[in-house]
Protein backbone atom coordinates (compact mmCIF):
# COMPACT_ATOMS: atom_id res chain seq x y z
CA UNK A 1 0.00 0.00 0.00
CA UNK A 2 2.49 2.62 1.16
CA UNK A 3 5.59 1.36 -0.51
CA UNK A 4 7.34 4.68 0.14
CA UNK A 5 6.58 4.53 3.87
CA UNK A 6 9.78 3.56 5.63
CA UNK A 7 7.89 2.02 8.53
CA UNK A 8 5.98 -0.39 6.28
CA UNK A 9 9.04 -2.54 6.00
CA UNK A 10 10.14 -2.28 9.59
CA UNK A 11 11.00 -5.74 10.97
CA UNK A 12 8.93 -5.04 14.09
CA UNK A 13 5.76 -4.37 12.08
CA UNK A 14 3.37 -7.32 12.29
CA UNK A 15 1.77 -8.19 8.97
CA UNK A 16 -1.79 -7.49 10.07
CA UNK A 17 -1.11 -3.79 10.75
CA UNK A 18 -0.92 -1.07 8.14
CA UNK A 19 1.89 0.82 9.79
CA UNK A 20 3.71 1.22 13.09
CA UNK A 21 1.36 3.99 14.24
CA UNK A 22 -1.68 1.76 13.90
CA UNK A 23 0.21 -1.05 15.62
CA UNK A 24 1.08 1.26 18.50
CA UNK A 25 -2.54 2.44 18.89
CA UNK A 26 -3.68 -1.18 19.04
CA UNK A 27 -1.14 -2.16 21.72
CA UNK A 28 -2.03 0.83 23.91
CA UNK A 29 -5.73 0.02 23.60
CA UNK A 30 -5.11 -3.61 24.54
CA UNK A 31 -2.97 -2.64 27.51
CA UNK A 32 -5.68 -0.32 28.83
CA UNK A 33 -8.31 -3.03 28.47
CA UNK A 34 -6.04 -5.24 30.59
CA UNK A 35 -5.59 -2.40 33.11
CA UNK A 36 -9.40 -2.07 33.28
CA UNK A 37 -9.54 -5.66 34.56
CA UNK A 38 -6.75 -4.81 37.03
CA UNK A 39 -8.72 -1.80 38.29
CA UNK A 40 -11.68 -4.09 39.00
CA UNK A 41 -9.36 -6.69 40.58
CA UNK A 42 -8.05 -4.20 43.14
CA UNK A 43 -11.46 -2.47 43.20
CA UNK A 44 -13.06 -5.44 44.94
CA UNK A 45 -10.54 -5.17 47.77
CA UNK A 46 -11.05 -1.41 48.05
CA UNK A 47 -14.79 -2.01 48.25
CA UNK A 48 -14.33 -4.56 51.05
CA UNK A 49 -12.10 -2.05 52.83
CA UNK A 50 -14.70 0.75 52.63
CA UNK A 51 -17.49 -1.47 53.93
CA UNK A 52 -15.51 -2.88 56.87
CA UNK A 53 -13.93 0.42 57.78
CA UNK A 54 -17.31 2.16 57.83
CA UNK A 55 -18.57 -0.67 60.02
CA UNK A 56 -15.64 -0.68 62.49
CA UNK A 57 -14.09 2.83 62.31
CA UNK A 58 -12.57 2.71 65.82
CA UNK A 59 -10.89 -0.65 65.39
CA UNK A 60 -9.51 0.45 62.01
CA UNK A 61 -8.09 3.68 63.46
CA UNK A 62 -6.37 1.80 66.31
CA UNK A 63 -5.03 -0.92 64.03
CA UNK A 64 -3.79 1.62 61.47
CA UNK A 65 -1.54 3.19 64.12
CA UNK A 66 0.25 -0.14 64.54
CA UNK A 67 1.67 0.21 61.02
CA UNK A 68 5.05 1.88 60.60
CA UNK A 69 4.10 5.19 58.98
CA UNK A 70 7.73 6.18 58.29
CA UNK A 71 8.32 3.04 56.25
CA UNK A 72 5.04 3.63 54.42
CA UNK A 73 5.96 7.25 53.66
CA UNK A 74 9.48 6.29 52.57
CA UNK A 75 8.11 3.62 50.27
CA UNK A 76 5.67 6.14 48.77
CA UNK A 77 8.61 8.39 47.84
CA UNK A 78 10.56 5.42 46.45
CA UNK A 79 7.64 4.32 44.28
CA UNK A 80 6.86 7.81 42.97
CA UNK A 81 10.52 8.34 42.02
CA UNK A 82 10.53 4.91 40.34
CA UNK A 83 7.50 6.01 38.29
CA UNK A 84 9.54 9.02 37.17
CA UNK A 85 12.55 6.87 36.16
CA UNK A 86 10.12 4.56 34.32
CA UNK A 87 8.67 7.54 32.45
CA UNK A 88 12.24 8.58 31.58
CA UNK A 89 12.87 5.04 30.29
CA UNK A 90 9.93 5.45 27.93
CA UNK A 91 11.23 8.86 26.80
CA UNK A 92 14.72 7.44 26.19
CA UNK A 93 13.26 4.57 24.17
CA UNK A 94 11.10 6.92 22.11
CA UNK A 95 14.16 9.06 21.35
CA UNK A 96 16.15 5.95 20.44
CA UNK A 97 18.71 6.57 23.20
CA UNK A 98 19.33 2.95 24.14
CA UNK A 99 22.18 3.61 26.58
CA UNK A 100 20.05 5.98 28.64
CA UNK A 101 17.12 3.55 28.35
CA UNK A 102 19.17 0.80 30.02
CA UNK A 103 20.33 3.16 32.79
CA UNK A 104 16.78 4.32 33.60
CA UNK A 105 15.42 0.76 33.49
CA UNK A 106 18.11 -0.36 35.96
CA UNK A 107 17.33 2.61 38.23
CA UNK A 108 13.63 1.69 38.14
CA UNK A 109 14.47 -1.92 38.98
CA UNK A 110 16.66 -0.82 41.92
CA UNK A 111 13.90 1.45 43.28
CA UNK A 112 11.28 -1.30 42.86
CA UNK A 113 13.53 -3.75 44.70
CA UNK A 114 14.05 -1.18 47.46
CA UNK A 115 10.28 -0.94 47.89
CA UNK A 116 10.02 -4.74 48.17
CA UNK A 117 12.94 -4.83 50.62
CA UNK A 118 11.23 -2.33 52.93
CA UNK A 119 8.01 -4.33 52.59
CA UNK A 120 9.90 -7.45 53.71
CA UNK A 121 11.01 -5.76 56.93
CA UNK A 122 7.49 -4.45 57.53
CA UNK A 123 5.97 -7.92 57.12
CA UNK A 124 8.71 -9.45 59.29
CA UNK A 125 7.90 -6.98 62.06
CA UNK A 126 4.17 -7.75 61.79
CA UNK A 127 4.83 -11.49 62.10
CA UNK A 128 7.09 -10.96 65.13
CA UNK A 129 4.56 -8.63 66.78
CA UNK A 130 1.73 -11.17 66.45
CA UNK A 131 -0.19 -8.89 64.09
CA UNK A 132 -0.86 -11.54 61.46
CA UNK A 133 -4.50 -12.67 61.67
CA UNK A 134 -4.93 -16.18 63.00
CA UNK A 135 -4.58 -18.09 66.25
CA UNK A 136 -1.40 -16.26 67.31
CA UNK A 137 -2.87 -12.82 66.78
CA UNK A 138 -2.38 -10.63 69.84
CA UNK A 139 -3.03 -6.90 69.95
CA UNK A 140 -3.38 -6.54 73.71
CA UNK A 141 0.18 -5.46 74.44
CA UNK A 142 1.00 -3.77 71.22
CA UNK A 143 3.10 -0.61 71.42
CA UNK A 144 3.02 2.29 69.02
CA UNK A 145 6.17 2.01 66.89
CA UNK A 146 6.73 5.78 67.13
CA UNK A 147 5.80 6.85 70.63
CA UNK A 148 6.30 3.58 72.44
CA UNK A 149 3.08 3.92 74.37
CA UNK A 150 0.46 1.24 74.53
CA UNK A 151 -1.81 1.79 71.55
CA UNK A 152 -4.93 1.01 73.46
CA UNK A 153 -4.06 3.49 76.17
CA UNK A 154 -3.78 6.29 73.66
CA UNK A 155 -7.45 6.31 72.82
CA UNK A 156 -10.22 7.36 75.06
CA UNK A 157 -13.41 5.84 73.78
CA UNK A 158 -12.08 3.18 71.54
CA UNK A 159 -9.37 2.31 74.05
CA UNK A 160 -11.89 1.36 76.67
CA UNK A 161 -13.53 -0.83 74.13
CA UNK A 162 -10.31 -2.69 73.51
CA UNK A 163 -8.94 -2.83 77.08
CA UNK A 164 -12.07 -4.00 78.72
CA UNK A 165 -11.47 -6.70 76.23
CA UNK A 166 -9.22 -8.46 78.69
CA UNK A 167 -11.74 -8.65 81.43
CA UNK A 168 -15.03 -8.83 79.61
CA UNK A 169 -16.40 -10.61 76.61
CA UNK A 170 -16.01 -7.48 74.47
CA UNK A 171 -12.36 -8.31 73.98
CA UNK A 172 -13.06 -10.97 71.42
CA UNK A 173 -15.16 -8.55 69.39
CA UNK A 174 -12.44 -5.86 69.32
CA UNK A 175 -9.82 -8.45 68.50
CA UNK A 176 -11.92 -9.77 65.64
CA UNK A 177 -12.46 -6.28 64.21
CA UNK A 178 -8.76 -5.42 64.41
CA UNK A 179 -7.92 -8.68 62.68
CA UNK A 180 -10.21 -7.71 59.82
CA UNK A 181 -8.04 -4.61 59.30
CA UNK A 182 -4.89 -6.72 59.22
CA UNK A 183 -6.50 -9.25 56.87
CA UNK A 184 -7.25 -6.42 54.45
CA UNK A 185 -3.77 -4.94 55.02
CA UNK A 186 -2.07 -8.19 54.03
CA UNK A 187 -4.45 -8.90 51.15
CA UNK A 188 -4.11 -5.43 49.63
CA UNK A 189 -0.39 -4.82 50.17
CA UNK A 190 0.31 -8.48 49.33
CA UNK A 191 -1.49 -8.29 46.00
CA UNK A 192 0.28 -4.98 45.35
CA UNK A 193 3.69 -6.47 46.24
CA UNK A 194 2.93 -9.44 43.95
CA UNK A 195 2.38 -6.96 41.12
CA UNK A 196 5.69 -5.29 42.00
CA UNK A 197 7.49 -8.65 41.77
CA UNK A 198 5.99 -9.25 38.32
CA UNK A 199 6.98 -5.70 37.39
CA UNK A 200 10.57 -6.35 38.49
CA UNK A 201 10.60 -9.45 36.27
CA UNK A 202 9.28 -7.42 33.32
CA UNK A 203 11.95 -4.75 33.89
CA UNK A 204 14.69 -7.40 33.88
CA UNK A 205 13.27 -8.73 30.60
CA UNK A 206 13.27 -5.20 29.11
CA UNK A 207 16.90 -4.64 30.18
CA UNK A 208 17.94 -7.86 28.42
CA UNK A 209 16.03 -6.92 25.24
CA UNK A 210 17.45 -3.39 25.30
CA UNK A 211 21.01 -4.74 25.65
CA UNK A 212 20.34 -7.07 22.71
CA UNK A 213 19.45 -3.98 20.65
CA UNK A 214 15.79 -4.84 20.06
CA UNK A 215 14.47 -1.34 20.72
CA UNK A 216 14.69 1.71 18.51
CA UNK A 217 13.05 5.07 17.87
CA UNK A 218 10.48 3.27 15.68
CA UNK A 219 9.86 0.22 17.85
CA UNK A 220 9.62 0.39 21.66
CA UNK A 221 6.11 -0.81 22.52
CA UNK A 222 7.24 -3.27 25.22
CA UNK A 223 8.91 -0.40 27.12
CA UNK A 224 5.79 1.77 26.81
CA UNK A 225 3.41 -1.00 27.91
CA UNK A 226 5.50 -2.10 30.90
CA UNK A 227 5.61 1.61 31.73
CA UNK A 228 1.79 1.74 31.79
CA UNK A 229 1.73 -1.31 34.06
CA UNK A 230 4.34 0.17 36.42
CA UNK A 231 2.46 3.48 36.68
CA UNK A 232 -0.78 1.63 37.40
CA UNK A 233 0.88 -0.22 40.29
CA UNK A 234 2.11 3.15 41.54
CA UNK A 235 -1.47 4.51 41.49
CA UNK A 236 -2.68 1.58 43.60
CA UNK A 237 -0.07 2.44 46.23
CA UNK A 238 -1.05 6.14 46.10
CA UNK A 239 -4.44 5.02 47.46
CA UNK A 240 -3.17 2.27 49.79
CA UNK A 241 -0.81 4.59 51.69
CA UNK A 242 -3.41 7.02 53.12
CA UNK A 243 -6.11 4.33 53.52
CA UNK A 244 -3.93 1.92 55.49
CA UNK A 245 -1.21 3.99 57.18
CA UNK A 246 -2.74 7.41 57.85
CA UNK A 247 -6.37 6.95 58.95
CA UNK A 248 -5.75 6.83 62.71
CA UNK A 249 -2.91 9.34 62.95
CA UNK A 250 -4.84 12.40 64.10
CA UNK A 251 -5.89 10.57 67.25
CA UNK A 252 -2.34 11.07 68.51
CA UNK A 253 -2.45 14.83 67.86
Amino acid sequence: MHSSDHSAHHPALAHHFQDLDQQKDATWLAMWVFLATEIMFFGGLFLAYVIYRSSYPDAFAIASNALNVNMGLGNTFVLIISSFTMAMSVYSAQMGQIGRLVVFLILTLILGSTFLGVKYFEYKDKFESHLVPGRHFDFAHHHDPKTGELLEGAHSESANKATEAHSSGHSEKAKREIQIFFSLYFAMTGLHAFHMIIGAGLLTWLIVLALKGRFSREYNSPVELVGLYWHFVDIVWIFLFPLLYLIGRHHHG
Binding site: D21, K24, F84, I247
Partner: protein, 106 residues
Amino acid sequence: MSDDHSKHHIVQPSTYAAILGALLVFTVLTYYVAFIDLGVLSNFVAMGIAVTKGALVVLFFMHIFYSTRLLWVVVVGSFGWLALMLILTLGDYVTRHWDIQQRIFF
Protein backbone atom coordinates in the same frame (compact mmCIF):
# COMPACT_ATOMS: atom_id res chain seq x y z
CA MET B 1 0.41 15.32 17.66
CA SER B 2 2.20 16.31 14.45
CA ASP B 3 5.67 14.89 14.38
CA ASP B 4 7.63 14.07 11.24
CA HIS B 5 8.09 10.46 12.18
CA SER B 6 5.00 9.68 14.15
CA LYS B 7 1.62 11.06 15.13
CA HIS B 8 2.38 10.02 18.70
CA HIS B 9 3.31 12.78 21.09
CA ILE B 10 6.54 12.35 23.00
CA VAL B 11 6.21 13.73 26.53
CA GLN B 12 9.26 15.81 27.46
CA PRO B 13 11.46 15.20 30.54
CA SER B 14 10.59 18.68 31.85
CA THR B 15 6.92 17.62 32.03
CA TYR B 16 7.86 14.39 33.83
CA ALA B 17 10.00 16.34 36.30
CA ALA B 18 7.17 18.80 37.03
CA ILE B 19 4.75 15.92 37.68
CA LEU B 20 7.33 14.21 39.92
CA GLY B 21 7.63 17.44 41.94
CA ALA B 22 3.85 17.76 42.26
CA LEU B 23 3.51 14.12 43.38
CA LEU B 24 6.20 14.55 46.05
CA VAL B 25 4.58 17.76 47.36
CA PHE B 26 1.15 16.09 47.53
CA THR B 27 2.66 13.12 49.39
CA VAL B 28 4.17 15.40 52.04
CA LEU B 29 0.85 17.28 52.23
CA THR B 30 -1.25 14.14 52.75
CA TYR B 31 1.20 12.95 55.44
CA TYR B 32 1.06 16.15 57.51
CA VAL B 33 -2.67 16.72 57.09
CA ALA B 34 -3.27 13.21 58.47
CA PHE B 35 -2.05 14.36 61.89
CA ILE B 36 -4.61 17.17 62.02
CA ASP B 37 -8.08 16.23 63.18
CA LEU B 38 -10.49 17.56 60.56
CA GLY B 39 -13.34 15.30 61.59
CA VAL B 40 -15.38 14.05 58.66
CA LEU B 41 -13.30 16.15 56.28
CA SER B 42 -10.16 14.08 56.93
CA ASN B 43 -11.36 11.34 54.61
CA PHE B 44 -12.35 13.71 51.85
CA VAL B 45 -9.05 15.62 52.01
CA ALA B 46 -7.00 12.39 51.99
CA MET B 47 -8.97 10.91 49.08
CA GLY B 48 -9.04 14.23 47.23
CA ILE B 49 -5.23 14.35 47.34
CA ALA B 50 -4.98 10.68 46.28
CA VAL B 51 -7.36 11.19 43.34
CA THR B 52 -5.39 14.27 42.25
CA LYS B 53 -2.12 12.32 42.39
CA GLY B 54 -3.66 9.40 40.50
CA ALA B 55 -5.04 11.74 37.83
CA LEU B 56 -1.60 13.34 37.34
CA VAL B 57 -0.04 9.88 36.87
CA VAL B 58 -2.74 8.77 34.40
CA LEU B 59 -2.73 11.99 32.38
CA PHE B 60 1.02 12.62 32.11
CA PHE B 61 3.10 9.59 33.15
CA MET B 62 0.66 7.38 31.22
CA HIS B 63 0.29 9.93 28.37
CA ILE B 64 -3.52 9.92 28.39
CA PHE B 65 -3.56 13.73 28.16
CA TYR B 66 -2.06 13.34 24.67
CA SER B 67 -3.94 10.18 23.63
CA THR B 68 -6.61 9.35 21.08
CA ARG B 69 -10.29 9.78 21.92
CA LEU B 70 -10.77 6.03 21.79
CA LEU B 71 -8.25 5.60 24.61
CA TRP B 72 -9.96 8.38 26.60
CA VAL B 73 -13.23 6.46 26.37
CA VAL B 74 -11.57 3.24 27.57
CA VAL B 75 -9.84 4.98 30.48
CA VAL B 76 -12.95 6.88 31.61
CA GLY B 77 -14.94 3.66 31.19
CA SER B 78 -12.47 1.70 33.33
CA PHE B 79 -12.75 4.06 36.27
CA GLY B 80 -16.46 4.57 35.57
CA TRP B 81 -17.04 0.86 36.00
CA LEU B 82 -15.17 0.95 39.30
CA ALA B 83 -17.32 3.91 40.42
CA LEU B 84 -20.43 1.97 39.42
CA MET B 85 -19.40 -1.00 41.57
CA LEU B 86 -18.58 1.19 44.59
CA ILE B 87 -21.69 3.41 44.34
CA LEU B 88 -24.23 0.61 43.80
CA THR B 89 -22.81 -1.59 46.56
CA LEU B 90 -22.48 1.24 49.08
CA GLY B 91 -25.94 2.48 48.11
CA ASP B 92 -27.20 -0.92 49.15
CA TYR B 93 -25.30 -0.88 52.44
CA VAL B 94 -26.37 2.59 53.58
CA THR B 95 -30.04 2.06 52.83
CA ARG B 96 -30.53 -1.20 54.69
CA HIS B 97 -30.60 -1.99 58.39
CA TRP B 98 -28.53 -5.04 58.75
CA ASP B 99 -27.00 -5.85 62.15
CA ILE B 100 -23.75 -4.38 60.86
CA GLN B 101 -23.16 -0.88 62.24
CA GLN B 102 -24.37 1.81 59.82
CA ARG B 103 -21.65 4.41 59.76
CA ILE B 104 -20.81 5.06 56.13
CA PHE B 105 -19.01 8.43 55.80
CA PHE B 106 -18.52 8.74 59.52
